[in-house]
């Protein structure tokens, strides 16, 4: 009823409008124009006409091509002039009083076809309907730009079928294709291409979908509007070419086809479901639940990827390296979950553009910013509060994201009625600013500034602080259809500081900082469908202040000491080709050459050849001038992988990877600590190297609902840095004397079953792996465990993680985690003996024993706020219980020698279940 009324009103309005227009046209004066053009573009021509007359043109510049007009007209009518100008163009014009409206393809009618409002009544007759707005309204899914216009409409309605003809070629080779079926969807109109790849169809005017089809080729569909006769050429790809380069997760069964092996991607959406400690959603923590990545338990910094040390992971946030991505000794990661988009972990095939770390590249990127409207997201948890805002500055072009997270733990700690807790401090904050600007179609600018600060004290007299500072800017430029350029400039700083201010005589202030700046140029070159290259160059400058200790106060007996600063330049060239040999076989071949130069100003010891580094073997101490090259290391690196798809859902992949690392974290502790210093390779410390082979089988089940993978790897490492028994590392001038260069060996098998869709989703990961180290030398002091392979500090053979989420209704979902890990190796005191009149503790062989196994079970419930459309903010509650079983997982085991009595102690972080309620909101 109502619809009929509206229809009636519309009809009435439309008629009035048209009637009015006709009136004005009739009343129009016929003016004569004299004008001449000389190599003028259409636009210039139109502007000239505007100048000469009082007509105004309405048009879209994009319709015009570069052709120019050179001609003179004397005393012509405007209609004649326009007809001449637009003779060969796909443009129509319409004169409305003093306005001239140009249209592309469409011819503006000033009358309605008789059947416009009553098409249905004329069903049986073949009536040629002109193409009008009504049809556009009906074809909802199609944006104007997706439609291909064919031919130019004329005012003649009589000629029935239009002829569409064209040429079909193969896009990889540009050769013509014979026998391709071409048809108009939902009609009987069809044909095949001839020997030369041409086709011809007779089609009535209207909007259609035209389809090409041939076995082995991708189907091609195009929405077309047929105005008149015209041509439409197709460039057809071979089937199943994945063009999507940015995000693999968006393309189904990519995990099967892509050549890269040992790549894990986590999408921020996946982490919402996982119960977390103190309700902090933590993308890095989730990433470490994937097989092959191990942490030293809860609240530990750093992680070990495929049997590598924790300093062998290149962690990047928007291209800039983040040295310590954790807060509170690793209870939380320092990456704001609401500003994060995704995390990609390369533990097997590392793209050639990355280098400088042996084990993995962890690439964290800020989410795609919302350029349309102001939005925000945040949460309030028991310990932290977080707010992220996205503010479009210029719609569709420029947006800024600001995120800030802080803890009020200090405020809470002060209120706790417990002496030892009251005096402790623990606080952190982190902030991120992300800027995105689409300058134009060809240029995009992205920039990030990040800062995090942690402050804590364990005893009342010492305060530890550490900060991360990052800045990165990237410019993306589209050179042409095949070449894209990316220029990055990044700077990262990590600093820590220890102030001891309780013991009058031993007060000190100890500082460390590392800074790196990188400039990187990368070009993507899509040669053709078979070869996609990327290549580039990067250069990184390091500055390290290894440490300075300053006595505090006049009473302090601490001697002030400053260790030489270090400087180095790490550069690389890289090229990678992603090759698609055929439908089944894909290859990635990458090559990288790293060149490292350790620079002055510094003094270095030279040691006698063939003898271990020791103070007694120093031949001379050389002082190098500022920027003088002390030592260089060059290293060719190969990054290759291949995949062979037996079926679209089953493939086998293999890869080989080698890399070099020039910067090392000095840590004799099992777990990384925020006060570990970093050291650059120099005259005496060689770069670490690794060589990895990996092999895997990948299978998708139930239309990609389940992803199943089994990967194996074998890795050899050289020059792995370890320390002599009894080594001390902080403020050590000649650290090379304490360092042992070891050989590492790691191998393992990783299983992952992942379900990403459906009511029940999550993953089960299991890995069996070994990580071994060998420290051998002909000199006794440089030998550990008789020079045999022994388990590294992070050798944890069995590792099981299960993360599951069940969506009961739209509002309620339940989730649980279960983790199990073999306890890590530990060196035990096993006896006592007297030597030189003093009692000593006898330690076992290094890492001979293990601490008890680790396991943990967490549960969580997410309750979504109601889905009222008009609500200001969308919200959800998260209730979770961490460590439901209350397992007292030992974090470390250590021994205290108290007057000859050796006592063992264990520390654990969370030994009871920890419930949390968090309120999250989004607007």
């Amino acid at each position: 009823m109502l619809i009929k009324q509206i229809k009636a009103i519309l009809k009435y309005l439309f008629l009035i409008l048209l009637f009015g227009i006709s009136q004005t046209i009739v009343a129009q004066e016929k003016t004569k124009i004299t004008i001449q053009f000389k190599e003028n573009t259409i636009k210039e021509v139109l502007l000239k006409i505007e100048e000469k007359t009082n007509f105004y043109f309405y048009f879209n510049e994009g319709w015009f091509d570069d052709t120019t007009i050179t001609k003179s007209y004397v005393e012509v009518e405007i209609e004649t002039l326009l007809k001449a100008i637009f003779k060969d163009k796909l443009l129509n014009y319409y004169i409305l009083d003093k306005k001239i409206i140009l249209t592309k393809n469409n011819f503006i009618r000033d009358d309605l076809p008789d059947n416009f409002f009553d098409i249905e009544s004329n069903k049986n007759e073949t009536i040629l309907s002109p193409i009008l707005t009504k049809e556009f309204v009906n074809s909802q899914n199609i944006k104007d730009s997706n439609l291909i216009r064919i031919g130019k409409e004329d005012s003649n309605l009589s000629s029935s079928n239009k002829i569409i003809s064209g040429y079909i070629s193969k896009s990889e080779t540009n050769t013509h294709l014979e026998g391709v079926k071409v048809y108009i969807k939902d009609t009987n109109i069809k044909t095949k291409t001839n020997k030369k790849g041409f086709y011809k169809l007779h089609v009535p005017k209207g909007i259609y979908t035209i389809v090409t089809e041939k076995f082995g080729l991708q189907n091609n569909r195009k929405r077309i509007i047929i105005y008149g006769n015209g041509t439409l050429n197709f460039n057809v790809q071979e089937k199943a070419i994945a063009l999507d380069e940015v995000s693999i997760s968006s393309t189904k069964n990519d995990n099967i086809k892509k050549a890269a092996i040992g790549v894990t991607r986590i999408n921020i959406k996946e982490i919402k479901i996982v119960p977390a400690i103190f309700g902090e959603r933590d993308i890095l923590k989730i990433a470490t639940t994937m097989p092959g990545i191990k942490t030293a338990g809860e609240a530990s910094m750093g992680f070990n990827v495929r049997g590598g040390k924790s300093d062998q992971n290149l962690i990047k946030l928007d291209n800039a390296v983040i040295y310590n991505p954790s807060h509170f000794f690793g209870v939380f990661s320092a990456i704001n979950p609401y500003s994060t988009g995704k995390v990609s972990i390369f533990k097997g095939s590392v793209p050639a553009e990355f280098g400088g770390r042996l084990s993995s590249v962890i690439d964290i990127s800020t989410k795609e910013l919302n350029t349309k409207k102001f939005s925000g997201q945040g949460n309030v948890g028991p310990i932290t509060a977080n707010l992220v805002l996205e503010v479009p500055l210029k719609k569709d072009k420029t947006t800024i994201l600001a995120g800030f997270r802080t803890t009020y733990s200090d405020w809470i700690l002060k209120r706790i009625d417990n002496e030892s807790v009251k005096n402790s401090q623990a606080s952190f904050f982190d902030g991120i600013l992300r800027f995105y600007s689409k300058i134009n179609k060809k240029n995009t600018l992205k920039a990030t500034v990040y800062y995090s600060k942690d402050k804590f004290s364990i005893s009342s007299d010492s305060i530890y602080k550490y900060t991360n500072q990052l800045a990165s800017i990237a410019w993306y430029h589209k050179i042409n259809k095949k070449n894209k350029l990316e220029l990055q400039l990044t700077n990262s700083t990590y600093e820590f500081n220890i102030v001891n201010d309780g013991n009058l005589y031993k007060n000190f202030d100890l500082n460390f900082s590392i800074n790196e700046s990188q400039l990187k140029l990368k070009i993507d070159y899509l040669l053709n469908k078979k070869h996609k290259f990327n290549y580039g160059i990067s250069s990184k400058l390091y500055h390290i202040k290894p440490g300075e200790i300053i006595p505090l106060g006049n009473e302090s007996i601490i001697e002030s000491k400053l260790i030489d600063r270090e400087k180095a330049l790490e550069s690389a060239v890289f090229i990678e080709d992603r090759i698609k040999i055929n439908e089944k076989l894909q290859l990635n071949v990458g090559f990288r050459y790293s060149y490292y130069a350790f620079l002055g100003k510094i003094t270095q010891n030279k040691y006698q050849e063939g003898l271990p580094f020791g103070d007694e073997n120093i031949i001379e101490t050389v002082a190098y001038k500022n920027n003088e090259v002390v030592k260089t290391y060059g290293s060719p690196e190969v990054r290759a992988s291949a995949s062979y798809s037996f079926t679209p859902s089953f493939s086998v992949k293999g890869g080989y990877n080698n890399s070099t690392q020039f910067i090392h974290r000095l840590s004799s502790n099992t777990t990384a600590s925020p006060i570990d210093t970093w050291k650059l390779s120099n005259l005496n410390i060689k770069p670490q190297k690794s060589y990895q082979f990996s092999l895997g089988i990948f299978k998708n089940l139930k239309e990609d609902a389940y992803e199943l993978s089994l990967e194996g790897y074998y890795k050899k490492m050289k020059n792995i840095i370890d320390f002599k028994t009894g080594a001390t590392l902080i403020l050590n001038d000649n650290i090379e004397v304490e360092i042992l260069n070891g050989e590492g060996k790691a191998y393992g098998l990783e299983f992952l079953l992942r379900k990403t869709i459906g009511k029940l989703n999550g993953w089960i990961g299991y890995s069996y792996s070994k990580s071994l180290l060998k420290l051998d030398s002909e000199f006794l002091t440089n030998r550990v465990n008789d020079g045999n392979y022994f388990p590294s500090n992070y050798d944890k053979p069995h590792d099981l993680s299960m993360v599951a989420n069940y969506k009961l209704t739209k509002r309620y979902s339940f989730s649980f985690n279960f983790f199990y890990q073999t306890g890590r190796p530990v060196t035990y005191p096993i006896g006592k003996f007297e030597f030189g009149g003093i009692q000593h503790v006898l330690y076992s062989d290094r890492n001979k024993f293990r601490i008890p196994d680790y396991y943990r079970f967490d549960i969580g419930i997410n309750i979504e706020g109601n889905h009222k459309i008009k609500k200001l903010a969308h919200s959800f509650w998260n209730i979770s219980v961490y460590n439901v079983l209350g397992r007292n997982n030992p974090y470390s085991v250590f021994f205290v020698n108290n007057k000859g009595e050796i006592k063992a102690y264990q520390t654990s972080i969370f030994s009871v279940p920890i419930p949390t309620i968090t309120y999250n909101f989004k607007f």
Partner: protein
């Protein structure tokens, strides 16, 4: 709601901060191992090899390795056999000295049938130190005497280990002329209202034995090492050996220190150094890497063996000094001296239920009452027939804690 959060938080933070707890370490981790300690030197003497076994963490003391067969062979095919003189201590049958450019190897067959041998070791370069001296100095804000050595031989010796033995004279602050003893002791358990009582005779005899002047020796219990490789021409100047605070009673009278220097090889230096470093307290800043310390002796089986066979050139020097040489005031005696006047005729129970003077007196004289007086008190003076002034034992008899034999080397 707020309250709940508080509770959760305080709970978690207490957990975070009070997270240290005793841990049942695996007890079956104990490993049997032989411990070998031997440094033979270029001194012609009966050289020593010390053998023991590792003990369990909860045990104390030393577990000597007895009845082992021990010998050294040199590259000139000489064999030096060792004999067990005291449990675990093996001395060479004959005197011998290590000679430069000859390689020595230690062999051990233990009574359980296992065999061990060391790597071949050469005598280190001789580098006797020139100077041993003491200076008045303030160290760690404390005034005292610092003993230094200088070694300026300009040769290739780089690694040094030091041992020192200090010997000092002790003079008791009280001059005792008579010994006191008891005879005819009658014990009466029921007398004196349930408190045991004694009757006895007191005998005094003139003191004949020297108990006033003694000599004591301390061997330091610390691995003391230095390395000269960073120094100009491998010279060692003012290496501190021993610091004595000005109040220390060991310099109350004449003091002497004997410093022994062993020139070490790189391996032996590092072995001792690592042992020493592992013994030091671990700090929060940097945890020391723990592990087994590999020596230069190996078993024929895969068995673990701890220890080092060192062949080291040795030199030693002795100096003497008095506190007066440094303008210091005389330190106090090392024991507090308290006199007590006791009357044999007083036998009433004391206020705290203890025995009367008569009981105390016999307990002090005999020193047979460990819960009260484990050592014999000395008689300072007899006031009258039944009243005696007694003094803390060590203030009148230095033989309780030191030797009254004057060492052969002693020079006054």
């Amino acid at each position: 709601m707020k309250k709940i959060i508080y509770i959760i938080l305080s709970l978690s933070f207490i957990l975070l901060h009070n997270c240290k707890e005793p841990y049942e370490a695996e007890t079956n981790t104990f490993e049997e191992a032989l411990v070998v300690e031997s440094t033979i030197t270029n001194e012609n003497k009966r050289q020593k090899v010390k053998l023991s076994r590792v003990i369990r963490l909860e045990e104390n003391g030393i577990n000597p390795e007895k009845n082992a067969q021990v010998w050294i062979e040199d590259s000139n095919n000489n064999r030096y056999d060792f004999l067990e003189t005291t449990p675990g201590i093996y001395l060479s049958e004959n005197e011998f000295m290590a000679i430069l450019n000859i390689e020595y190897k230690l062999y051990i067959n233990t009574q359980n049938g296992n065999s061990y041998q060391s790597r071949g070791v050469n005598l280190t370069v001789e580098s006797p130190f020139e100077e041993l001296y003491a200076l008045k100095e303030t160290v760690n804000e404390k005034l005292g005497i610092q003993v230094y050595i200088d070694n300026t031989n300009n040769n290739t010796a780089k690694y040094f280990r030091y041992e020192f033995v200090e010997t000092y004279k002790i003079i008791t602050p009280f001059w005792i002329t008579n010994e006191i003893d008891v005879a005819n002791v009658v014990y009466n358990p029921t007398a004196g209202l349930g408190v045991p009582d004694y009757t006895y005779d007191i005998i005094t005899t003139p003191r004949t034995e020297e108990k006033r002047i003694c000599y004591a020796s301390n061997t330091h219990k610390k691995i003391l090492q230095t390395n000269a490789s960073n120094n100009l021409e491998n010279n060692i100047i003012r290496f501190p050996i021993r610091f004595i605070e000005k109040e220390d009673a060991i310099i109350r009278n004449r003091y002497s220190i004997l410093v022994k220097q062993y020139v070490q090889s790189y391996d032996s230096y590092n072995f001792y150094k690592t042992l020493n470093d592992l013994g030091s307290v671990t700090s929060l800043i940097s945890e020391t890497q723990t592990g087994f310390v590999q020596g230069n002796i190996h078993a024929d089986t895969k068995e673990k063996i701890i220890g080092f066979f060192d062949v080291s050139s040795k030199s030693e020097k002795r100096i003497y000094f008095n506190y007066t040489d440094f303008d210091l005031t005389k330190p106090k005696y090392q024991y507090e001296c308290k006199t007590d006047t006791l009357d044999y005729d007083i036998f009433e129970i004391g206020r705290n239920g203890e025995g009367g003077d008569r009981t105390k007196l016999i307990e002090k004289i005999t020193g047979n009452f460990p819960e009260h007086y484990p050592e014999k008190y000395q008689l300072v003076n007899q006031v009258n027939l039944h009243t005696y002034i007694m003094i803390t034992p060590r203030c009148g008899d230095c033989t309780i804690f030191s030797s009254n034999t004057r060492p052969d080397f002693w020079i006054d």
